[in-house]
Each structure stands twice: as structure tokens, then as C-alpha cells.
């Protein structure tokens, strides 16, 4: 193993794991992250920067990482932009560096860095202006290729993702000292607690630092706390779970990485679960993120955050180099130096910007000094230090541990636009007053930087949160822990530096911020858009405050005067698959199957999606090579003998109550009060604005009992509207509603032999002759030897027709029985296509005609809107604009000669201009009628009912072409309706 692997830590030195990076095999340890394993193997160079393709190494040890982004895994599982700092090492892991042309060490696009003067912030707004057409076709694709992050696999994600739902009294976000103290406090009080931690180990800084809690190491105390929490049924510990968003009413989104630490998820197991957590209260204990100090060439591999270097040494037994220089403006940098020395890492010098820097025994401290520059092409080899006396000194080293102070991790506190407030104590923003409802903050996330204060504020935070929901908890005894005061001086960047990086992920330098200021983009939001500071996958977690500080200095304002940047969800990037959950592919939405579905599938039916329903579209027979052949056959067979169609999908609403008739009389535009028991009536519903809404039938089964049918598409909205009317418009009426759409399997049996067929199935005691059961009759009957059923004498096809309904479980048996008994009549099943052809032949409207813009008058049903009663929509249907003499009217169309009428065509005069000003109507439905052996159509035409016989042009400017058509009656077949009544 490499010289960079130390002893101790929380890795299992006895469990080696093999992995590859850029094709080269390395060995890590169980408990490593990809970043820690690479560092232990003396790999500092992990990627190339976004714009200039500069060599970059890992900066941090957490999810804030801006630099060490890799493409993880291979093939369809390849995931770009994965932070090496959060990847839990597993045996066989493969990772590749990204955003390079050639190898990582010799990236050809490194030429961008040589010409960096031309690539300053906003360069592409100014540089690629001419010729204009080149932008979209050449410049932008080129820039996008050169700049950017990883690439996606372009294959389907082979993994599955779950969604899930959790409920708790207290959600604790983060399991560092504050979070653990809070969870223990709330758990001991019996509250329902969820403790979510994005790391795979609990502990936060307690397992990254060396301090003690009373007489235990941090890791040991965490182990004890975790063991106690694990015994509590009321506490759910969720490691590998990142809370990514704070939403309304205490709802939080969290991604649990179930299988990301495995090469492949276990069989049937999801890769991740996206949890929706319903919390009564939430305590954010998300810790703090260290900020860098900007100095010349501060982006070389090996320049890292001091707290991260310390964490790698203490937790992961890894160091970026045997020799590390510390650069700090606060006391915390000295802790890093002390911990590194204790681990056997050489710390030649601490460069402290403060004139009054504390001493450290055995290590040189250069007070009042700054790092002026670094050297080393693919990693730091030395730093140039500018001493307090103005002289410079070059110090060889393999890494620089930089500490500019700690910024509370504000993410979740800002998700509902809460503005943080400035704290002079820690020189950073702390969560402000406008937190999401039910949320509070504790620990370092709230500016409590010592271990003691984190523990205490976590415990007290839990007590306070629970008290606000009526639960009592005790803070209890806390372990003794360090309580060092914050000692930090304002020092953001080294003056005079030319290329000092502020935002590593977006290659934004101090100079870019100065340019932004110079060009007038001085507000924080403008700064962000102009320089891209704070954008991309890390949301500027390590960059935003330094960017603000530089801008504040330039504008002569304070940092809080300059502004704040806030964060949006998600806190860290979320896989699209996790957002989709199981709703992918055929499971995107639930599928509804009709009662005859299995039978229809056996017949080889083609199915069509109608909303969530799958309906048989047509039933092809051997020898038929085109769908039209099947459809024509089904139409002709139905009109000549008998056909059957599953119409279960039509909505059915059971309406009962003493005022059921009065209620329907208000819902429908036409009258229902006097409908006799045992009769069905066609009904038209209007919207409040007088436009036609839905049509169907209502059958009166008893004085106080109706069954309303709706169109398939409007089954749910009509039921909802009726329920609204019942509860809100006329609450005094005695009426009760419930949907029975799915409870009954319903078949249309249509054609001249329909009655003869049904007489073989309906039990003999029920007389369904024309006299006993005439057109528009309905009744409750039995079939097949006593099975309860409903029969309706209604027709959509225009033929002698019935609809018969049985309890759904018998629907399969009924269609099979009908087919058996119908053999002598050549009973033909028909699908939605034949249904559509026959209704067009009959001139019946559907959704194509009830299209949200048409009125009863347009539909030729103006007289149906009763003037004698009040109903939804009747008043506004009388508006002047809806009742002009040349209002659109529904007519039929036939082509003059051959030709096919196209739906959507617009109707123009037979000669004259073709433009919108001369538009006289449009085609709503078209079909080939096998009865008429011609294309036919339905259309709305101005004053159409008075223009039958006129010739017009149906024009189709979108696809080209026009056709001469004759306006005819919309009732092509049996206009007198004699067949219905036979």
C-alpha cells in the first residue's frame, strides 16, 4: 500500500477492496470512499475543471465537493458527475475521470487554460456573435462539448427506484453531535423520530475529529449512542439518506441509497428510495461546510480544505501527501496541523494570516503570512509564502490544508425562501427567522461551532420542538466535550492574486468577480448569472460566501449589505430515476382492463389506450391485412345482423334519494323530472358558461333511483361535478351519489338480430319484445339462470340495440355466452373503430364535437335546453354571442367524387381565398362508411343547417390538399330512426 495510507481510522485494514480508476487497478479498504482510497494510493489528480480543463483534485470530504466528479460504473449503470467523496468503496468499483480529451494527465483541452484570457466570465456573450447563424449550429455545440461535466450512458437505467412515505414527530436531519443528541433526547421521550444521515456512518465531525466526549473517543460515543437508538422502536435510523428538500407543511424529501454501495442491487431491490417524510417538527443538524481562502493557483490537486484533510487522516487513515502545509485565518486550521502531526504526517509550516496567530509546539507558525502562489503541474509541489515582513519563501510540500472558517449548511433552511442573517461571531450567514414551518436548526448549522455547543443545542432543540407539539422531553446529561470559542479573522483572498479560484466547479476566479463588478453586474443575482458562480451540481456550497465577500469589498459595502444567496431543492443532485420511482415504462400509470379484456386478447384484438383503459379497437381475422378490412366487416355485420361491443368504460353513477329526479333536472339541460320509471332518456350537460359539457343517458330504475351514464373520458369529472353540485350548490336536496362504473360489465348488442340473440340469454320470465320493452326502456332482469342484470334499450349505432349489464365478475362469462349463442346470427364483436364509424354514420356527437367550444345550438340540440327550468349553464347559453344567425351548426359531409375527408380540415367557399378570414367551419370527425361506400364526415359550418346541398372546399393547409365536399344531413343512416324502434 501507498505511503499515504496511515494507521487507525474507521476503515477495516483487514478487508482489501479492488477498484479501478481510469482503467488502473487500485486497492482500498472497507470503509473507504473513492476519494479516500485514491488519496491513500497517492492519486491527487482526479478530474479536469469545467472551463479551463485545469488539473483538479479532491477539495473536500463530503457532498459539497466541487472538483472530484467522476463517471461511476460502466455500461447502462454509468453515472456521471458522481462526487468521489460520497462514493462508498465496494469491490470491483470502476470509475473514470470526466471532461477531458485524451488522458487525465494530458488533456488536449488543457489548451483552454493557455488561452484563458479569451475565456473570462461572459466570454461567449461577446466572442461568438457573428455570423449569427453559427451560434446554434457551431459555437454552442462546440462550447458545450469543450466545457462541461460527465456524459450519460444513453441507455435505459437497468435499476428500479421506489418511492415511500414516512411519518414522524421529529425529523432530525444529520447525525453529527447535534443530531445524535437531539435523536437521543427525543427518542428517550418516546417521540417518533427519524434520524437521517447522508453518510454511511453516523457521527459527522465526531468521527472525523480527535476530541473526546467525557472519557470516550468520538467514534466510541457515536457507537454507544447509535446502539441506544437502535433499541428504540420509536426511532428510525436512516444512514445513506440525504434530506434533499423542505416542502410545505413539514413535508421533506429524502433519498435513501439502498444499493449504491453494492456493485449491483440485490434481486428485486431498488437502487434508491425517494422518501416523502411527513414531519410534525424538523430539526436541521446539517453541520457546517468549511470555506477556502482564494490565492494564486489555489486549485492545484493537493490544495484541500483543512477539515477535510483532517477527516481523511483521522477517519480514513489517508493523507493526500506525506507533507502538508496548513494555511488558515482561524484556530481550526491549527487543529488540523496537530491531528496530522499526531498521525505522523509532516507539517512543515502553518501559514496563519493573523498577526496574533497562536504558537504550536514543534511546528513552525508563520503569523501574518499568506500563500502567494503554488507550483506543480499535476499536483502541488511547493508553496510560495509571503511573510509578514514582505519577503517570500518557498516551502516544498505535497498538499495544502486551507481553512477560511466554517459556513453553516443553510440548504434546507432556505428552501422556502428563508433569508439567512449575518453573524459577526463566525463571519458567516446563519439561518434566519423565516424557516420552513415546523423547522428549527441546531449545532454547527446554526453557528454553534464547538462540540459542546452542538450537543447542547441539539438536545435543547429536540426539547423545544417536542414541547411545541405537546410532548415533554428532558435534555438529560451531556458528555463533556471541547467548547473552544471561535477565533476567526476576516480574510477571504490573497490580494494581488490573478487567478485565484473562488468557485472551483465553474472555474470562477477573483478576477472574474472583479470583471463582473466592472461591467456593472453587481447584485448577487447578476453576479451569479454573469459568472456562473454558485451554479451546477454543488450549488456553490464552498464558493458563495467568498464570492460575496469579494464583491462586497469591490462595492465598499458589508457582506450582508451586498446580499445573500439562498438555495433551492434539491440539496444534492437526485437521480431522475428516484423522482420517477416505479412510474416508468408500462407502469407509468395504472392500466384499466375491461371485463371482456382476456376474452378479447384471446381473439387477437388490437387494443387502444383510452385514458387508462385499454379498449379493443378492432378484431382482425385471418386474411385481413389492413385494419380497415376488419372495421368495415364489423360495421357491415352489425348493421346486417348483430354485433357486440364492450361499453363498460362509460361512466356509471348511481343516483338515489327523494330528490334524485329534481337533482338531475338541474344537472341536465333537458328535462328529467317527468321521466317514467323503466325509461331511459338521452341527456346533455352544459358547463356553467353554457358550452356543451358531456352527454349520456339516465335510466330511471325507481322513483328515487337513477343510473346516469357519462362518456368514458368524462366519467370522473362528471361524477366530481355532480358531487360538487350535491354538496355545495343544492345541499338541501335529498340525493346520494356513488360511482358504479367498474361494478357492472356492460355490453352493447346492436343490429337487426339483437333482440333474437338476447332472448336466448335473458331468462324467459322477462319479456323483451318491442311492445313490452320498447325503444328507451330499461329494467332489472336476470340472465343465464338467475343472474341479476340490467337491460337498457338504447342505441349509439342507430340499429335496434340494447345494452346489457351484469356484475363485473360475470362479464367474461357473458361475452363468451353471447358469442356461443350468437353463432347462428354470425354475431360479430366490434371495437372502438367500428363504434366510431357507426356513430358518424348516425350523426351522433362525441368528444370530437363536444370539444369545449360548442353549444347545444351548434350541435343541433338547441331546443333540448329547457326554458322552463333552471339548470347548470342554461342562463349563459343564452348569451348573444352564442346565438347569432350564422352560428356553427353540425352537418354531414360527403366528398364530390372520390377523395378522403380529413379531420381538422377547414371549410371554405367553393371558390375564393383560403385564409382565416374566409374560414366557415371545420371538420370534427371523418370515417369511411362501408354502408355508403364513401368517405364521410361531420363538420361545424356557419349556418350549416340551412346550407345542405351546398358545395364547399375542405382545405388542409397543414398537410396540403383540398377536397370539394357537399353539405348533407349528419344522419347518413336511417335518418328517420325506424331501426331503433323496430
Amino acid at each position: 500500500m501507498s505511503i499515504n495510507r496511515l494507521t487507525g481510522g474507521l476503515i477495516d485494514h483487514a478487508s482489501p477492496l479492488q477498484f479501478t480508476f481510469d482503467g488502473k487497478t487500485f486497492e482500498g479498504r472497507k470503509g473507504d470512499t473513492l476519494a479516500s482510497a485514491l488519496l491513500a494510493n497517492d492519486v491527487r489528480l482526479m478530474g479536469r475543471s469545467f472551463k479551463y480543463h485545469r488539473p483538479r483534485g479532491v477539495l473536500s470530504a463530503g457532498s459539497e465537493e466541487p472538483n472530484a466528479l467522476v463517471e461511476l460504473r460502466s455500461g447502462a449503470r454509468r453515472e456521471p458527475n458522481t462526487r468521489a467523496t460520497t462514493v462508498e468503496l465496494f469491490d470491483g468499483l470502476t470509475a473514470d475521470s470526466q471532461n477531458r480529451l485524451g488522458s487525465l494527465k494530458f488533456d488536449a483541452l488543457g489548451v483552454n487554460d493557455v488561452f484563458h484570457r479569451f475565456f473570462a466570465a461572459g466570454f461567449y456573450y461577446k466572442t461568438f456573435m457573428w455570423p449569427k447563424a453559427f451560434w446554434e449550429k457551431l459555437y454552442e455545440p462546440m462550447i458545450r462539448h469543450a466545457a462541461g461535466l460527465g456524459s450519460i450512458s444513453l441507455q435505459d437505467d437497468p435499476d428500479v427506484y421506489d418511492k415511500g412515505f414516512l411519518h414522524c414527530d421529529l425529523l432530525v436531519v444529520g447525525a453529527g453531535p447535534a443530531g445524535l443528541a437531539a435523536a437521543l433526547t427525543a427518542g428517550r421521550a418516546g417521540a417518533r423520530v427519524i434520524l437521517a444521515e447522508e453518510d454511511f456512518l453516523l457521527g459527522g465531525r465526531l468521527i472525523a475529529d480527535t476530541g473526546t466526549l467525557t472519557d470516550m473517543s468520538g467514534a466510541d460515543w457515536v457507537g454507544t449512542a447509535q446502539a441506544e437508538l437502535a433499541t428504540m422502536d420509536n426511532v428510525r435510523i436512516m444512514p445513506r439518506t440525504t434530506v434533499v428538500g423542505a416542502y410545505d407543511h413539514g413535508v421533506y424529501g429524502a433519498v435513501e441509497r439502498i444499493s449504491d454501495h453494492l456493485a449491483v442491487p440485490e434481486d428485486g431491490k431498488p437502487r434508491q428510495v425517494f422518501w416523502r417524510i411527513y414531519s410534525k417538527r424538523a430539526l436541521v443538524c446539517a453541520g457546517a461546510i468549511e470555506r477556502p481562502i482564494a490565492f494564486e493557483n489555489n486549485d492545484r490537486p493537493g490544495v484541500m480544505l483543512a477539515g477535510a484533510v483532517r477527516a481523511y487522516a483521522n477517519r480514513w487513515a489517508a493523507t493526500p501527501a506525506p507533507s502538508v502545509v496548513v494555511f488558515t485565518n482561524n484556530d481550526d486550521g491549527h487543529r488540523t496541523a496537530a491531528d496530522l502531526v499526531a498521525k505522523g504526517v509532516s507539517v512543515p509550516t502553518i501559514v496563519d494570516t493573523r498577526d496574533t496567530a497562536p504558537d504550536m509546539q514543534g511546528t513552525e507558525v508563520l503569523a501574518g503570512a499568506q500563500i502567494a502562489d503554488t507550483k506543480g503541474r499535476l499536483g502541488v509541489k511547493s508553496v510560495t509564502v509571503k511573510l509578514i515582513n514582505g519577503q517570500t519563501r518557498v516551502i516544498p510540500c505535497g498538499a495544502v490544508a486551507v481553512s477560511g472558517g466554517w459556513n453553516p449548511n443553510l440548504g434546507l433552511t432556505c428552501h422556502q425562501r428563508g433569508r439567512p442573517v449575518w453573524s459577526e461571531k463566525i463571519l458567516s450567514f446563519v439561518p434566519g427567522g423565516d424557516l420552513p414551518q415546523g423547522q428549527s436548526v441546531a449545532g454547527a448549522a446554526n453557528g454553534e461551532t464547538s462540540t459542546h455547543s452542538a450537543l447542547a443545542s441539539g438536545a435543547q432543540g429536540a426539547v423545544d420542538a417536542l414541547e411545541s407539539i405537546g410532548l415533554t422531553a428532558q435534555a438529560g446529561d451531556l458528555p463533556a466535550a471541547e467548547d473552544r470559542p471561535v477565533s476567526v479573522s476576516p480574510f477571504w483572498y490573497v490580494q494581488g492574486a490573478k487567478r485565484a479560484w473562488v468557485d472551483f466547479q465553474n472555474d470562477v476566479t477573483v478576477k472574474d468577480i472583479k470583471l463582473s463588478h466592472q461591467e456593472g453586474f453587481r447584485s448577487v443575482e447578476h453576479l451569479k448569472r454573469y459568472t456562473t458562480l454558485g451554479m451546477a451540481t454543488d450549488q456553490g456550497k464552498t464558493a458563495n460566501l467568498t464570492g460575496l465577500a469579494v464583491m462586497a469589498e469591490l462595492t465598499g459595502k458589508t457582506i450582508p449589505e451586498t446580499g445573500t444567496t439562498i438555495f433551492r431543492p434539491p440539496y444534492t443532485p437526485v437521480a431522475m430515476g428516484a423522482l420517477a420511482g416505479r412510474s416508468v415504462g408500462k407502469a407509468f400509470h395504472p392500466t384499466r382492463l375491461t371485463p371482456s379484456h382476456h376474452w378479447a386478447a384471446e381473439q387477437g384484438a388490437e387494443f387502444v389506450e383510452v385514458g387508462n383503459w385499454l379498449r379493443a379497437q378492432y378484431f382482425p381475422r385471418p386474411g385481413e391485412t389492413h385494419w380497415r378490412q376488419a372495421v368495415d366487416r364489423e360495421v357491415l355485420a352489425t348493421r346486417s345482423s348483430v354485433g357486440v361491443c364492450d361499453v363498460t368504460t362509460l361512466g356509471k353513477i348511481d343516483v338515489q334519494g327523494a330528490d334524485a329526479a329534481a337533482f338531475l333536472n338541474k344537472i341536465y339541460a333537458n328535462g328529467f323530472a317527468k321521466l317514467a320509471v323503466g325509461k331511459v332518456r338521452y341527456g346533455l350537460m352544459l358547463r356553467e358558461d353554457g358550452i356543451a359539457y358531456d352527454d349520456g343517458t339516465a335510466a330511471r330504475l325507481a322513483e328515487d333511483h337513477f343510473v346516469v351514464t357519462t362518456t368514458t373520458a368524462n366519467a370522473v369529472p362528471v361524477y366530481r361535478n355532480m358531487e360538487f353540485a350535491r354538496q355545495c350548490l343544492w345541499p338541501d336536496l335529498d340525493v346520494q351519489l356513488i360511482s358504479t362504473t367498474e361494478a357492472w360489465a356492460q355490453y352493447a348488442v346492436a343490429g337487426p338480430n339483437a333482440r333474437k340473440l338476447l332472448q336466448k340469454i335473458v331468462d324467459p320470465e322477462f319479456d323483451i319484445t318491442n311492445d313490452a320493452f320498447p325503444f328507451m326502456a330499461c329494467g332489472e332482469i336476470t340472465v343465464g339462470g338467475g343472474l341479476r342484470a340490467r337491460l337498457f334499450r338504447i342505441s349509439f349505432s342507430g340499429e335496434l340495440a340494447f345494452e346489457i349489464a351484469v356484475p363485473t365478475r360475470y362479464g367474461d362469462a357473458l361475452i363468451r355466452r353471447l358469442m356461443d349463442e350468437g353463432q347462428e346470427f354470425d354475431l360479430t364483436p366490434y371495437g372502438t373503430e367500428a363504434l366510431g364509424v357507426m356513430r358518424i354514420e348516425k350523426g351522433h356527437a362525441t368528444g370530437a364535437e363536444l370539444n369545449g367550444t360548442t353549444t347545444a345550438l351548434n350541435l343541433g340540440m338547441g331546443r333540448m335546453v329547457s326554458k322552463k327550468k333552471d339548470c347548470i349553464g342554461n342562463t349563459l347559453s343564452e348569451r348573444d354571442g352564442l346565438n347569432t344567425a350564422d352560428a356553427l351548426a353540425l352537418v354531414g359531409l360527403k366528398p364530390k367524387g372520390d377523395g378522403q375527408i380529413m379531420t381538422g380540415s377547414h371549410l371554405m367557399a367553393a371558390s375564393g381565398p383560403v385564409d382565416a378570414a374566409h374560414d366557415q367551419g371545420y371538420v370534427t370527425s371523418a370515417a369511411y362508411s362501408p354502408i355508403l361506400e364513401s368517405s364521410i364526415g361531420l363538420a361545424f359550418v356557419k349556418n350549416g343547417s340551412n346550407r345542405l346541398g351546398e358545395t364547399m372546399r375542405a382545405v388542409n393547409p397543414l398537410e396540403g390538399g383540398e377536397l370539394l365536399v357537399e353539405l348533407v344531413s349528419a344522419h347518413f343512416v336511417d335518418p328517420e330512426g325506424g331501426r331503433l324502434r323496430d
Partner: protein, 186 residues
């Protein structure tokens, strides 16, 4: 007695049963269902007659009760669903309407629904993956309306476990979602 043969919501002659990990998912086609809604102003009368004529205690919001042959659960203001053994009460709606009389509206709901019974210690974890209801705190005798895989469903908790009732036409989709979730938590 009809000679027409019923099929289950999943489309077979017999109910499907799967055991995956610590949960058993059983299609249950053996229950009849009817909705019971009070007529305007008749809530007290309905409660009284339900008790005297059927021995039925009509529960409050979020609750279900078992009284003799019948289980009832609250589905809305003055509105309940009642279920009973199908073999014994195929004509449940007619039976209840007869017993309660004109103070209530009763509608047959038997085949509007599919029902899956979940038993075993994995049931709660399974339901956590599918529905936003607070399932871990549900006690026998509680029932709720919730969404599973975009479908409006009832989840009923009894001493035997949980029952999920969803729209019958989507039985296949609901069953698929239950099976997938069972594998997830197995």
C-alpha cells in the same frame, strides 16, 4: 343459480396468492360489498335501524367495525361501505336495503373493487413504499382512503393484517405494484 362462471379481478378462476419474504399477498374475491348512505336528515334513524335490524355498529371517521357477519367502514359523512361473505351474501345490497328501509340509499359495490389481503410482518414496510397513509400507527379497527400507485384505495387494518381495496379494472396494476413493493422490502 346461474351457470355463468365468475372470474376474479386478476382474471382467473381462482384467487392468486403470493408469499414474498415476510408478506403474503392474497387476492380475495370472496367478499360482497355495498355502500350505505343516509337519506337527508336520517342519520340517527339509519344508525338505529342498522343496529336493530342488522346488529351493525356504524363507525366514525377512520374506523371500521365488525358486527356479526358484517364489516363496516366509514367512507364519508353519513356514508359507509359494508362487506360480508360473498357465498352467503351475494345479494348483500338487496339484503341491507331491505333491512334498513327507505331511510338510506344502498348501492351494490361488490364488483367495483378488487381486494388484496396482506398478512405477515412485512406488511407495514410494504405499504410504506406505496401509500402516504400513516400505516405503522394503524390499529385493527382502522380504515382509511389513500392512494396506491395513483389509484384511490381503501386500506383496512384488522387483527388478520391489512386489506387493500382498489378499483377492479386496475387490479393487475395494483397487484403488480404490491408484488414489486414486496420484493423491495423482502
Amino acid at each position: 343459480m346461474t351457470d355463468l362462471k365468475p372470474i376474479t379481478p386478476l382474471g382467473a378462476g381462482a384467487a392468486r396468492i403470493h408469499t414474498i419474504g415476510q408478506v403474503t399477498i392474497s387476492e380475495n374475491p370472496d367478499r360482497s360489498m355495498a355502500s350505505l348512505t343516509t337519506r337527508k336528515g336520517k342519520a340517527d334513524a339509519v344508525r338505529l335501524v342498522a343496529k336493530t335490524a342488522l346488529g351493525l355498529d356504524l363507525p366514525g371517521p377512520g374506523q371500521s367495525t365488525i358486527s356479526g357477519d358484517f364489516t363496516a367502514w366509514w367512507t364519508g359523512p353519513d356514508q359507509w361501505m359494508i362487506d360480508a361473505d360473498h357465498a352467503q351474501y351475494e345479494l348483500l345490497a338487496a339484503h341491507i336495503a331491505q333491512a334498513i328501509g327507505p331511510v338510506a340509499s344502498v348501492t351494490e359495490q361488490t364488483d367495483g373493487w378488487c381486494r388484496f389481503d396482506l398478512t405477515g410482518s412485512g406488511s407495514v414496510a410494504l405499504l410504506e413504499r406505496l401509500c402516504p397513509a400513516d400505516v405503522p400507527t394503524m390499529q385493527p379497527g382502522q380504515a382509511t382512503r389513500t392512494l396506491l400507485h395513483h389509484l384511490g384505495c381503501f386500506v383496512i387494518c384488522s387483527t388478520a393484517g391489512f386489506s387493500v381495496l382498489g378499483p377492479r379494472s386496475s387490479a393487475g396494476s395494483l397487484h403488480h405494484a404490491l408484488i414489486e413493493a414486496a420484493h423491495s422490502v423482502a
